[in-house]
Structure formats: structure tokens, C-alpha cells
């Protein structure tokens, strides 16, 4: 019965995807290295679009990939870069004082 | 809307509008400010006379109502009691205005002072003309708002402290009052004041609730009337300028409280219901305790204004005592004391202000020999003080006489003992300043002499109002049997309130045997 096998395969895939999503979310929110969090977030967005496809929502998948992962990811990366630079500036200023 | 309701509005506006205008005058615009002050005061006086003529000669009724909430109106109405209080306020405002102009000459922030002064009188007249309990509450709160700036007028740390205490008491009283009025309105609706009360129809099992509400109302009004546990703001408020003390003590604030208690007892609960509920006796006891306590404190007060303040605490409770006796004769005594105490006390405060302003006298022991230096003021002081003690034929005697008769009528003979004791205490604290003023000799200079050199003993704007009110205090006693006397008026009110046609005749015969 190939149909049933396909069905169970897909369900297995769904479960795996859900678990991966949860794992990625857990890791990215755990803190530590911010850069890693941001990269994980972008990956999270891409995995989400996969989930949206599985939920028969191709429009949402497109939007998620372009906006949720793409644009938000770019925003996060730039913000992180600026944050680092601000940190350096503060660091330098404090270093100069002492 | 009955005919001529706008007359009442006009009376309110005659002090409100000048008041608002005065706020925005510059300090130097003396002439305009004085014109506005006196113009407003005179206009109000004339309007009240017109109102009196309208009510008593032409039999008109005046009322005005504005809707506030569904079923709840702001009602202004003129009945005999409101006319009594309004007339007292208008007359005393006129003289106090003149006095205050003289007293505050050259002091700073006069525009602000007279602005709030006018607001204060508007609120008092509003209280007088309130046609129901909600309206009374509204103007009562406005009075708080308008008098606080007067209490803190001098701006010193001490006056701010007094202001804080004043606010703490009056706002708390206002909150309690609001709760009580809302509660009562839920039970009985927003009824107009009705002679004999409007709560009879409430079922008997609501007795405890009605007692609770009564207690709250008494607490709310008792704050301003300086009833015993709630009195201590009053002596502290003495830091205000003399005309303010005069106004606070003689007319506006304490009388507003006493007036509210009279209204509640007569026109909301009705004396019968109040007596049935058993609330008049506790009120009577409270009044008596306040009378004795105030007198005792006055005896030990060295500062002249403090002494007068404690005297006020004591004397205002005569009014409450009178209505709490729950009989017509006692009510006559209480209500007539509303007027008499007002006129006498304002005389005393004017005199104290004259002493302080002219010679820098603040303490009783500084009054030595002041009778020679300021004989006119001292005469006025003596007349009013003797009146307070209750020496015949002065005004205070009449009040006490009726209070005594009322007590006998109510079968509470022991109350007369209290009256006697209180009168003795009155003598104890009023005679020393009189004796010192007339019969002691002054050694050395006055503490701070200012108005020297003139032909008069002090500024005419201080002296004239003082003499006017002193003359009134004298006249009210001497001419008590005339139809324009407060006594006649009060008996008319009581006759109406208590529904006894014959009582007033009976009283009158009793009084002039």
C-alpha cells in the first residue's frame, strides 16, 4: 500500500520538521552568541516556509521566505553589525579614559 | 422651571463674574478692582433684597434646575431658610469686602485674594440656595476649593501646613459626604428639600441604613462645622489674614457645615424621623461636648485669634444643639444663633484684625490699655464679647434663652445646666481681654504700631465695617421683636418647617411676657 506509506512518511516528515523548528527556536533563544542566534533565526524562517508549504499555504511560504527569513534576516544582520560597532566605540572610549 | 429662576443665577453670578474678572487684573489696578469688588457686593445685596421682596411681598417662588444625570438635577431654590443664610452672607460679604480692602492695602497678590474671596462667597450663596442634597454637596465641595487658596494666602510654611490640614479634613469630609449622598439618592431618589423630610416612605427595616447614612452626613458636614473630633483644622487655619478668618468663621465655612446639618435634619430626614431613629440624642451630646471642649480650650488660648477660633468651635455647636433638641423652640434658638453668632463673631475678628493691623497686638496679654488707644474698636469688641457670653439684652442672650426654653420643652432640663456652664466659661475667656483693654495701663510701646497720626484710631476702611457689624449685633438683640429681626424670621421658618401655626405666637408671647 504505497499511499499509506507515503502518508506516514509525510507525517513523519511533519513531526521531524516540527521538532527541528522547536529545536532551532530553543537554540536561537538560548542566548550566548548573538550572531549564531541571528543565523539560526534565518534558518528558522526558511524552515517555517517549508512548514507553510506542508500546510498548503504556498502564498504564505513565499511571503515567509522573502520577508520573514530574507528581509528580517538582513535587518537583523545589519542591526547586529551596528550593535558591534557601537560596542567597540564604547569599549574604545572607556579604554581611552583609563 | 419656576418664574424668575434666573434671579438666583444672577445672585450667584454677581460675585462669580467679578471674582473671575478680578483674577486677571494686574496688581496695580486698584480702582477697578475695588469697583468690581464693591459693585459685586452691592449688587448681590440689592438682588437679595429684591428676592426678599419678591418672596415675602409678592409671594413668588424662585427655582432653577439644570439636569446633571438622568433623574438628578442641580436645583437652586429660595425658601425661607435659604433666604436667611443668603441674606446673612450677602450683608457680611459687603462689610467684609470693605474691611478686606482696607486690611490688605499694599499687600501682595490682592487680585488673587479677592478673586478667591468672591468665589468663596458665590459658593456660600450656592449652598444657601441649594434646592436638594446633591446641589448642596456640589457647592459644599466648591467652597473647599475656593477657601484653600485663602488659607494658604500668605504662602508661609505655616500657612501651607494649615492648608494641608484643612484640605485633609475637608476633602475627607467631602468624600464621606459624597458616599452618603449617593447612597441616599439610590434609596430615595434625588428629592428636593422638603419641610419635614422626604424619607418617611422608606420601610422601617431600612432604619440601620438610614442611621449609617445619617452618621456619614453628619461626619461630612461636621468637618466644616468643626464638630468635636473633626475640629482641629479650624484653629490652625488662623494663619490666614483676618478677613479670611472672619469669613471662614462667621459666615462661609463653619456656617456651611452647620447649615448642612440643619438641612439634613429638617428637610431630608425630618425631625420626627430623626427622633424615631434615635439619632438626635447622639448629635445633641456631640454638640454639647463640642461646646464645652471649645470653651475650655478657649480659656487656655493666649493668642487672641486662637481664642476666638476655639470660641467658634464652641459657638457653632449651639446651632447644632438647637436643631438637635428636635423641638420648635430649640430650633428657633439654633437658627437664630446662626445669624447672631455670625454677626458677633465677625465683629470680634474685625476687632482682632484692627488690633493686629494697627498696634501689632496678637496676644491677649498685649491688650493692656488698648481701650484708651482704640476706644471705638474696643467698644465694638466689648459689645460682641458680652453678646457671646449672653448678657441681656444683646443678641447672644436671645439665642441662649431660646435654646434653654427649647431644652425645657424637649424635657431635657439638664441641657440648661450645660448652657449655664458654657456661659460661665465664655465669661472666663472673654472678660479678661475686656478688663485688660479698659482697665489696665500700658507700660511701654505697642508691639508694632502702624496707623499712627490719623484723626481716626485706625484706617476708616477697617473701622467703619467693624462699627457697622457691632451695631448690627447690638440691634439684633435690642430690636428682636421687630418684623425685620432675625428672630422674627427664624420663627417664621420654624413655623413652616415644623408645621405648628400657633407656635410662633406662643414663642412670641413667651419672649415678651
Amino acid at each position: 500500500m504505497p499511499e499509506e506509506i507515503t502518508t506516514w512518511f509525510l507525517i513523519g516528515f511533519d513531526a521531524l520538521l516540527a521538532l527541528t523548528l522547536l529545536g532551532v527556536a530553543w537554540r536561537l533563544l538560548a542566548g550566548g552568541d548573538l550572531f549564531r542566534s541571528v543565523v539560526l533565526f534565518i534558518a528558522f524562517g526558511l524552515l517555517l516556509s517549508l512548514a507553510w508549504v506542508r500546510l498548503s499555504a504556498p502564498d504564505v511560504a513565499l511571503a515567509e521566505a522573502a520577508i520573514g527569513a530574507g528581509v528580517t534576516g538582513a535587518l537583523l544582520l545589519v542591526a547586529l553589525g551596528r550593535l558591534r560597532r557601537l560596542e567597540n566605540r564604547f569599549f574604545r572610549r572607556e579604554g581611552g579614559n583609563t | 422651571m419656576a418664574t424668575g429662576g434666573y434671579m438666583l443665577l444672577l445672585i450667584l453670578l454677581s460675585s462669580l463674574l467679578p471674582g473671575v474678572a478680578i483674577f486677571f487684573l494686574r496688581e496695580q489696578q486698584f480702582a477697578l478692582r475695588t469697583a468690581l469688588n464693591l459693585g459685586g457686593a452691592t449688587l448681590k445685596f440689592l438682588l437679595i433684597i429684591a428676592l426678599l421682596v419678591g418672596v415675602y411681598r409678592d409671594g413668588k417662588t424662585y427655582s432653577l434646575s439644570v439636569n446633571l444625570l438622568p433623574g438628578i438635577d442641580l436645583v437652586l431654590a429660595a425658601d425661607a431658610l435659604s433666604l436667611l443664610f443668603a441674606t446673612l452672607s450677602a450683608v457680611l460679604w459687603l462689610v467684609t469686602t470693605i474691611y478686606a480692602i482696607g486690611y490688605l492695602e499694599d499687600s501682595p497678590n490682592r487680585s488673587r485674594f479677592f478673586g478667591f474671596f468672591s468665589l468663596c462667597v458665590s459658593a456660600t450663596v450656592g449652598i444657601a440656595f441649594s434646592g436638594n442634597l446633591i446641589t448642596l454637596l456640589i457647592f459644599y465641595e466648591i467652597l473647599t476649593l475656593a477657601t484653600w487658596p485663602l488659607v494658604v494666602h500668605r504662602g508661609t510654611a505655616e500657612s501651607f501646613r494649615a492648608g494641608r490640614i484643612y484640605l485633609a479634613y475637608t476633602l475627607l469630609g467631602g468624600a464621606v459626604l459624597l458616599g452618603a449622598v449617593v447612597w441616599l439618592t439610590l434609596l430615595a431618589g434625588s428629592e428636593p428639600f422638603t419641610a419635614g423630610g422626604y424619607l418617611h416612605h422608606l420601610s422601617a427595616d431600612q432604619g440601620p441604613v438610614l442611621i449609617m447614612i445619617f452618621a456619614m452626613l453628619m461626619a461630612g458636614f461636621g468637618v466644616k462645622a468643626a464638630l468635636l473630633p473633626l475640629h482641629s483644622w479650624l484653629p490652625r487655619a488662623m494663619v490666614a489674614p483676618a478677613p479670611v478668618s472672619a469669613l471662614l468663621h462667621a459666615v462661609a465655612v463653619v456656617k456651611a457645615g452647620a447649615f448642612g446639618i440643619v438641612r439634613v435634619l429638617n428637610d431630608v430626614y425630618g425631625v420626627e424621623l430623626a427622633a424615631d431613629l434615635g439619632v438626635t440624642l447622639p448629635l445633641l451630646l456631640l454638640a454639647i461636648m463640642t461646646i464645652v471642649y471649645g470653651s475650655v480650650r478657649a480659656v487656655f488660648a493666649d493668642d487672641l485669634k486662637q481664642r476666638l477660633a476655639f470660641s467658634t468651635v464652641s459657638q457653632v455647636s449651639y446651632i447644632i444643639l438647637g436643631v438637635a433638641l428636635a423641638g420648635p423652640i430649640g430650633a428657633v434658638g439654633g437658627l437664630v444663633h446662626l445669624v447672631h453668632q455670625g454677626v458677633m463673631k465677625i465683629t470680634l475678628f474685625f476687632c482682632a484684625g484692627n488690633f493686629a493691623e494697627t498696634l501689632g497686638i496678637h496676644r491677649v496679654d498685649e491688650m493692656r490699655g488698648v481701650g484708651r488707644r482704640m476706644p471705638w474698636t474696643m467698644t465694638a469688641f466689648t459689645l460682641a464679647a458680652l453678646g457671646m457670653i449672653g448678657i441681656p439684652p444683646l443678641a447672644g442672650f436671645i439665642s441662649k434663652w431660646y435654646l434653654g426654653l427649647g431644652a425645657l420643652e424637649a424635657g431635657l432640663a439638664w441641657v440648661t445646666v450645660v448652657l449655664v456652664v458654657s456661659s460661665l466659661l465664655n465669661a472666663l475667656y472673654f472678660l479678661p481681654p475686656i478688663l485688660r483693654g479698659w482697665f489696665s495701663r500700658r507700660e511701654g510701646p505697642w508691639p508694632d504700631e502702624r496707623h499712627g497720626g490719623g484723626r481716626l484710631e485706625t484706617h476708616w476702611m477697617l473701622l467703619l465695617p467693624t462699627m457697622a457689624v457691632a451695631a448690627m449685633a447690638l440691634g439684633m438683640g435690642l430690636l428682636a421683636s421687630l418684623t425685620i429681626s432675625p428672630l422674627y424670621w427664624v420663627t417664621f421658618i420654624v413655623e413652616f418647617e415644623y408645621g405648628y401655626d400657633h407656635i410662633w405666637r406662643a414663642i412670641f408671647e413667651w419672649e415678651t411676657p
Partner: protein
């Protein structure tokens, strides 16, 4: 009135969104003329809000299907008594804020940003008041949040920026909780319209959880104690027109939404427990806000803490909703009265601050004596906050106490009365410096409009003291929920 009949069929509601939004877009396009667009918008919006209130009062609630698509499919605009009263209040206060800003921001290089963001905020609030769809409400809510966060941050400086950040995060948290509620409701009933949901919601787990999530989310936005931390720095350090807009208007937005939800969507759900919890939080807010206002050293901080306290009254809504069918009207009237009075107080404070160059209470006496009109506005509007007679605040306090006593909830009556006492204490504390001895000083020269607008608004507070009956009869034309 024949013209009322002509108006009967006119769709006025969309204009209340179109006008401010068009104004916002135009102001964004020509920042140099932003203030004139703002003023024009304010005037037109006020006229429209008045007409709408009259229309609703005369003909009852209006429901408009947007795009001609009937409810399960399309979005509706609902103009009923509640919405039109809030719109009217917003328009009146909005015009005052706009006029005052004309003076306050004159000559400020970045002043145009105020106008742009303020018009956006106005459009967003109007859209929210009119929306009849839970998801559409979410979008309007986000608009309100973004505009008000930007307005808070406009002042620059560490404290406003931190406050803005805090506010944004709390709001986003609230929005997400709200959105989860929407998702649960859609999952359970498959519709998004408020009326349609209200007709279906019955006592079961999904709507209960949705109600809790949405309510708690919105509470966080409305700064109810103890979620109020961001409010005082945000409202206290923003430019005066912004403070006025935030304290008088934005705070009411999430309150309105909570009320709307419980009136229309969730009336079938029991409130047991929630009412006591909310009442306790409300009492905490009243007490804490009042005490902090008594201690704050700066004028605008005092007023900001006063907002924390008065938000507490708003959430007496819950005990009232449970115990009294008409009780919410008292709270709405309070919201309106507070809106007008608080705006007047903040604008007056702004004028004094501009004149003196600072707003430290201890050193404000001279300017308060010199700027009498403004001090008066402060006094009258302050009396409104305390609930002294002849102000809308008095009527509001009366209604609150009446409702509480009528429902037998005397404890909440005590909270209202006690809160009034605290308000009295801090309002008179504000006025104190005016009575200290010393010279009068008008301070820096200011445009006359900055003195007249607070005064006019303060006088309107008195006007509200006589508006109880019409306001209540307008509120009676509110769409009720529950079974249609």
C-alpha cells in the same frame, strides 16, 4: 431637525479614518507644511466626529460592510454609541493637542515629525474605535503602538528611549497574546466579526483561554499596575502634546478594546475571579500611582503618575461588568472625563515648562503666578482629576460610586473615594507653588495659543459636568453582544 434625516443614510464612519490618514500621508509628503495639514485634518475630523455622534444618537448604531462584502467574508465598521463617544473625545482632545502643538513646536527643527506621527496615531485610534473585526483590530492596534512608540522616543535622551523600548516590547507581547486569542477564536468558530463571534461564543475552553489571553495582553498595553513601569518615564519626559496624547488618548485605546470584547464577544463567559483580581490590581494602581504622584519632584512626572492611578479606575470595569448591567457606562464616562482633564493638565504643564524652561515643582512658583490663565487651567483640570463638582470628573466619580453601591460593591466605592482623596492631595500639591510668596514672572515669551488652549480644554471639563445625560443616552446606543 430635517437635516438629521438627510444625514441618516450617509456613511460618515469611513471619513473618520480617511481624513486623518490622508492628513498623515500628506503631512509625510510635505513635512514643511505638516502643521497646516495637521490643523486642517483636526478641524475636519472634529466636525465629522460630531456629525457621527449626532447621527448615532438620532438613528442608533450603524454597521458598514467594507467593500460591500457582508460580515463572514468582509470587514465591518461599527459606529455605535461607545465608538462615537470615544471618537468624539479623541477629536476634541486631538484638536486641542494640535492647536497647542502649533505653539509648543514652533521653531523646532524636527517638529514636523510630531505632526506626521501624531496624525498617524490619530488615524490609527479612529480606525481601532470603528473596527468590528478581531483581526482588523489587531492591525489597528499595531498601528497605534508603532505611532505612539515613535512619539515617546521623539524626545530623545536615555530615559525616553528606554521607556519607548520597554513600551514597544510590552506592547508586542500584548499584541502576540491578543493575536493568539484571535487564532483560537477563529479556530473555534471560523469567523472574525465581533458580532458574529458574540453570537456563537459559549462557555467552553477555547473562548475562555482566548478571552484571558486577549485581556491580559491588552492590560499590559494599558499600563495597569504592576505593568505600569514604562508609563511614567514615557509620559513624563515626552514633549507636552505627546504626553497629552499618550495619557489622555492612547491609554484609553486598550481599555476600549477590552470593554468592546467583553461587551460584544465574551458576554457569555463568566467573570468570576477575574473581577476580584482586576479590582485588586485597580486598587493597587490607584494607591501606588497616587503615592508616587505625591512624591515626584517634577510637574509632568506627577501628572504621569496620576495617569497610572487613574488607569486603575478604568479597570474597575471588571467588577462592574460582572455585577451591574449598566456599570460599564460609568467607567466609559470616567474615561472621557479623564481624557479631557488629563490633556488639559498636560498641556498646561507644557506651557509652564516652556515658560520656565524646566518643570521642577519647587521652582515653578514665579511662572505660575505670572501665567495666570495657565495656572487656572491647571487648577480647573486638576479639579476634574480629583472629581470636584462642576467638572466631568465629579459626574464620573458620582456614577462610579453609584454603580458600586447599587451593585453592593461598597469596597470599590471606597477605592474610588479614597483615590479621589489621593488625587486631591497631589493636585493641590501641584498648585502649591503658585501660592508661595515671591515675584510673578511670565518667563519666556510664548505664543498666546499655548495659554488659551489648556484653558479652553479646562473649561470643557466643566462643560462635561453637564454632559452626563447626553453622554449616557449616546452610550445607550451601543451594540450589545451575546446571541446577536
Amino acid at each position: 431637525m430635517p437635516w438629521m434625516d438627510v444625514m441618516a443614510d450617509m456613511a460618515l464612519a469611513p471619513w473618520l479614518v480617511i481624513l486623518p490618514l490622508a492628513g498623515a500621508l500628506l503631512a509625510g509628503l510635505w513635512p514643511a507644511a505638516a502643521r497646516w495639514w495637521g490643523l486642517l485634518t483636526a478641524l475636519l475630523t472634529l466636525v465629522m466626529a460630531l456629525l457621527l455622534a449626532l447621527q448615532v444618537h438620532a438613528h442608533g448604531p450603524m454597521i458598514l460592510d467594507l467593500g460591500g462584502w457582508a460580515p463572514p467574508l468582509g470587514i465591518t465598521l461599527v459606529a455605535d454609541g461607545l465608538a462615537s463617544l470615544m471618537l468624539l473625545m479623541t477629536a476634541v482632545v486631538g484638536l486641542a493637542i494640535s492647536l497647542h502643538a502649533l505653539g509648543y513646536l514652533a521653531g523646532e527643527g524636527r517638529g514636523h515629525w510630531f505632526w506626521i506621527l501624531w496624525l498617524w496615531l490619530w488615524a490609527a485610534m479612529n480606525a481601532l474605535y470603528l473596527s468590528g473585526d478581531v483581526f482588523n483590530l489587531y492591525v489597528t492596534l499595531e498601528l497605534v503602538v508603532l505611532a505612539s512608540v515613535a512619539l515617546v522616543a521623539l524626545a530623545g535622551g536615555a530615559a525616553p528611549l528606554v521607556a519607548a523600548m520597554r513600551y514597544l516590547l510590552v506592547s508586542l507581547l500584548g499584541s502576540m497574546a491578543y493575536l493568539m486569542g484571535v487564532a483560537l477564536l477563529y479556530g473555534a468558530y471560523g469567523v472574525l466579526g465581533l458580532q458574529a463571534l458574540g453570537a456563537q461564543v459559549a462557555l467552553s475552553a477555547a473562548p475562555m483561554l482566548a478571552a484571558v489571553l486577549m485581556t491580559v495582553g491588552l492590560l499590559a498595553k494599558s499600563a495597569l499596575f504592576p505593568l505600569h513601569v514604562w508609563l511614567p518615564p514615557a509620559h513624563g519626559s515626552a514633549p507636552a502634546p505627546v504626553s497629552a496624547a499618550l495619557s489622555a488618548l492612547v491609554v484609553k485605546v486598550s481599555f476600549y478594546l477590552i470593554l468592546r470584547l467583553w461587551l460584544t464577544v465574551f458576554p457569555a463567559l463568566p467573570l468570576s475571579g477575574l473581577d476580584v483580581l482586576m479590582g485588586v490590581l485597580a486598587a493597587g494602581a490607584v494607591l501606588w500611582g497616587g503615592l508616587m504622584a505625591l512624591r515626584a519632584p517634577r510637574l509632568k512626572q506627577v501628572v504621569a503618575y496620576s495617569t497610572v492611578a487613574q488607569v486603575g479606575y478604568l479597570f474597575l470595569l471588571f467588577p462592574f461588568l460582572r455585577a451591574h448591567p449598566e456599570g460599564w457606562k460609568a467607567v466609559v464616562f470616567f474615561a472621557v472625563a479623564h481624557g479631557v482633564a488629563k490633556a488639559a493638565v498636560f498641556l498646561a504643564a507644557g506651557t509652564l515648562q516652556r515658560a520656565a524652561g524646566h518643570d521642577r515643582l519647587a521652582d515653578l512658583g514665579a511662572v505660575m503666578r505670572g501665567r495666570l490663565k495657565t495656572s487656572f487651567a491647571l487648577g480647573i483640570a486638576g479639579a476634574g482629576l480629583v472629581g470636584l463638582p462642576f467638572t466631568g470628573g465629579f459626574i464620573a466619580k458620582w456614577l462610579l460610586v453609584q454603580t458600586a453601591l447599587e451593585a453592593g460593591l461598597w469596597i470599590w466605592a471606597l477605592v474610588v473615594l479614597g483615590g479621589g482623596l489621593l488625587a486631591g492631595a497631589y493636585v493641590f500639591r501641584l498648585l502649591g507653588p503658585a501660592f508661595e510668596p515671591g515675584p510673578a514672572d511670565r518667563g519666556r515669551p510664548l505664543p498666546a495659543v499655548m495659554e488659551w488652549v489648556p484653558l479652553a480644554l479646562a473649561l470643557l471639563t466643566i462643560g462635561l459636568g453637564f454632559a452626563g445625560t447626553p453622554a449616557l443616552s449616546l452610550l445607550a446606543r451601543t451594540l450589545a453582544g451575546g446571541g446577536g
